[in-house]
């Protein structure tokens, strides 16, 4: 036991050394035209040695340390928490959601412009997370190419506005429907695939879309992207200093207030908020409808679901299509927010982040997805003072999170539907 621990500890210490020494201990310096390899300061070496020592000691006495920690109950306040009864939990969740939405509605008027801008991004990720949650969390289909639908939504708006002068409001449904159509089409080849194979095919699909956008230079302008995408308007009122489109009026002139560039930011934020709430509401309803039940049944056991007469094709396609629809939504908003899109915005990392949001939030749980979207988007911003180490901090936070709560922030608790004897027909707690 001890010998085994010792060997393991030695190995961990060695890995620490191998990882940290080249990164921290060696510097490449340009001297004139040649590059020289120089060592770091003594202080750094001491630091590395200390780190190695700490890792070694921790791994050596790990059982004792963790055992000791486990006994300290105060460290984990959730340890003997009873799950809330269903009615109470549903009420709590509903109140929490309403409060969050209300707070989010008034918040931008007191916050700074940068914060509101970031919050818009958070909301976009919330829409994406909720959409992917349908595919991954509920239907149990691991989709690694979700960003493709996001790209379809964004490029639909970009191209329509560039070639035909479509406005945001006209493009929003078109972008979403087109993304849904792509989801439907992708659904067919992956119907027979499960698990890893499904993940690979969807991953490939995500890349195909990005590479297509990159290479269809005549249409999409390739890597240069599409610029000058218009902002959303409010009943024909524009938020810029000057009116760009003939026939539109300008917001500050109509209301006779001085021009302020934050109006636009806040307006976009509010639109995104409304769409996020819309997404949340629609998917909440869907989960409680038979189609939501059938997604879960398929995730739980495909053969059993089919033995009950559920069509695998219909269930999977509906999940893919609905998930993609909301990604198209998010994409359109994103294009409008940035005013410029290029294939660079739709790399695999985006898919990974959205997936991280779903997993971190607790697969299937909507409140969890919202919290995770906030955490995943805000955390790298907060960690900015660590400059180049901020992704490291982010990674560490994710690892800790998974150790601490492997089921996610707020694991999905399923609402069950009671058939009450006295009130026939009324079966829903929603």
């Amino acid at each position: 036991m001890i010998a085994q621990n010792f060997r393991h500890a030695l190995f961990c210490a060695f890995i620490t050394l191998v990882i940290s020494y080249p990164i921290l201990g060696l510097n490449l310096e340009a001297q004139g035209i040649s590059i020289k390899l120089t060592g770091a300061e003594t202080q750094t070496y001491v630091g590395i040695a200390l780190a190695v020592l700490i890792v070694f000691l921790f791994q050596l006495f790990r059982p004792a340390i963790l055992g000791g920690l486990g006994r300290v109950k105060a460290l984990n306040p959730l340890v003997d928490r009873q799950p809330m009864p269903q009615e109470k939990r549903i009420r709590f969740e509903r109140v929490a959601l309403v409060l969050i939405v209300l707070g989010a509605m008034f918040w931008p008027f007191i916050a700074s412009r940068g914060a509101v801008d970031l919050a818009t991004l958070v909301l976009i990720y919330i829409i994406l997370g909720l959409g992917l949650n349908v595919v991954v969390g509920l239907a149990g289909l691991l989709d690694l190419g979700y960003v493709a639908f996001y790209a379809v939504g964004a490029y639909t708006f970009g191209l329509l506005s560039q070639y035909y002068g479509f406005s945001f409001w006209m493009s929003l449904p078109i972008g979403a429907v087109l993304a849904a159509a792509f989801g439907f089409v992708l659904g067919f080849p992956v119907l027979r695939l499960r698990g890893d194979y499904l993940a690979i095919v969807t991953l490939g699909f995500g890349e195909i879309i990005r590479i297509l956008l990159n290479n269809l230079t005549d249409l999409t302008n390739g890597p240069d992207g599409i610029g000058g995408i218009p902002d959303p308007t409010l009943f024909g009122m524009e938020f810029g200093r000057r009116v760009k489109v003939e026939g539109n009026t300008s917001f500050h002139e109509v209301f006779n207030i001085p021009y302020d560039s934050t109006h636009k930011v806040i307006f976009l934020y509010l639109i995104t908020l409304i769409l996020a709430v819309f997404t949340l509401f629609i998917i909440r309803r869907l989960i409680r409808m038979p189609v939501g039940r059938s997604w879960e049944a398929l995730r739980e056991d495909e053969i059993a679901a089919r033995s009950l007469g559920l069509s695998r094709t219909a269930v999977k396609l509906s999940a893919f299509t609905i998930g993609a629809f909301f990604a198209g939504f998010a994409g359109t908003i994103f294009a409008s927010k940035q005013g410029f899109i290029s294939p660079e915005s739709f790399v695999f990392l985006e898919s990974a982040i959205v997936l991280a949001i779903v997993v971190l939030g607790g697969m299937g749980s909507q409140l969890g997805v919202i919290l995770a979207a906030i955490a995943v988007t805000i955390l790298p911003e907060l960690a900015r003072e660590f400059s180049e180490y901020r992704m490291l901090v982010f990674g560490a936070a994710m690892v800790l999170m998974m150790v601490w709560r492997p089921q996610g922030l707020l694991p999905m608790t399923r609402v069950h539907i009671n058939l009450k004897k006295q009130e026939a027909g009324v079966t829903d707690h929603a």
Partner: protein, 233 residues
């Protein structure tokens, strides 16, 4: 009620069933016995349309269902209790049952649920328990109950005794005979030949993709070949 005419089924290039014919009358319990790899499950899957028969016909209530999609077949009055029970582990007992009634109205769900709870009082006690946390016997009861929720005219059971204690097996088989009393036709596929044949009105013996014997349950039990091969002498 269910007629299989000269069914051939292929997995890719390999033929698993070489011309199997089976006939099940309304209200009967028919057992199909056979060793591992004889093609029992393949036969059932062919009835369900996955894989579909490469030649021959499957008739249910006189209608040709050979090339219908699985989902449609399963909604036409046939219910199957799949091998290994396959309850939805994360859903509660009640939710599992409701999934069974997916294509029926809410009133009917309530009615058939009461019926299932009458048949399996144990399930009523555990109605809010997650199915995955129940014992094998309880899960088997749930799987049968869930199949009953589809209001089937015929129920197919694939190895309901698999991995269960003898006492539980006895209970399950008792339930199966009450199903017949309710007017449901039962097609029972079993390796547990003795129990299955005792219960059955008629039986078939399947060997390497062919029907070897067909007789009444009692006759098959008495048959020397069957005794030697399936009943341990």
């Amino acid at each position: 009620m269910l007629v299989l005419e000269n069914i051939h089924t292929h997995y890719g290039k390999i033929e698993a069933l070489h011309g199997v014919s089976v006939e099940i009358q309304k209200g009967e319990i028919v057992s199909l016995i056979g060793a591992n790899g004889a093609g029992k499950t393949t036969l059932l899957m062919t009835v369900c349309g996955d894989p579909q028969a490469s030649s021959g016909r499957v008739l249910f209530k006189g209608e040709d269902i050979t090339h219908k999609p699985t989902a449609q077949i399963m909604r036409s009055g046939i219910a199957i209790v799949p091998e290994g029970r396959r309850v939805f582990p994360g859903l509660t007992v009640e939710e599992n049952l409701h999934m069974g009634g997916f294509f029926t109205s809410k009133q009917e769900i309530r009615k058939s649920q009461d019926h299932v709870f009458e048949l399996f009082p144990r399930l009523k006690e555990r109605r809010n328990q997650r199915a995955g946390t129940m014992s094998g016997g309880e899960q088997q009861m749930l799987a049968i109950g869930r199949a009953l929720m589809t209001k089937p005219e015929m129920i197919i059971l694939d190895e309901p005794s698999l991995g269960l204690a003898p006492l539980i097996i006895k209970q399950i088989f008792e339930i199966i005979s009450t199903l017949r009393d309710d007017g449901i036709t039962v097609f029972l596929v079993e390796q547990n030949a003795k129990q299955a044949l005792k219960l059955a009105d008629r039986g078939y013996v399947l060997e390497t993709g062919r029907i070897r014997l067909e007789d009444s349950g009692a006759n098959l039990l008495a048959n020397e070949d069957v005794q030697k091969a399936y009943l341990g002498g």
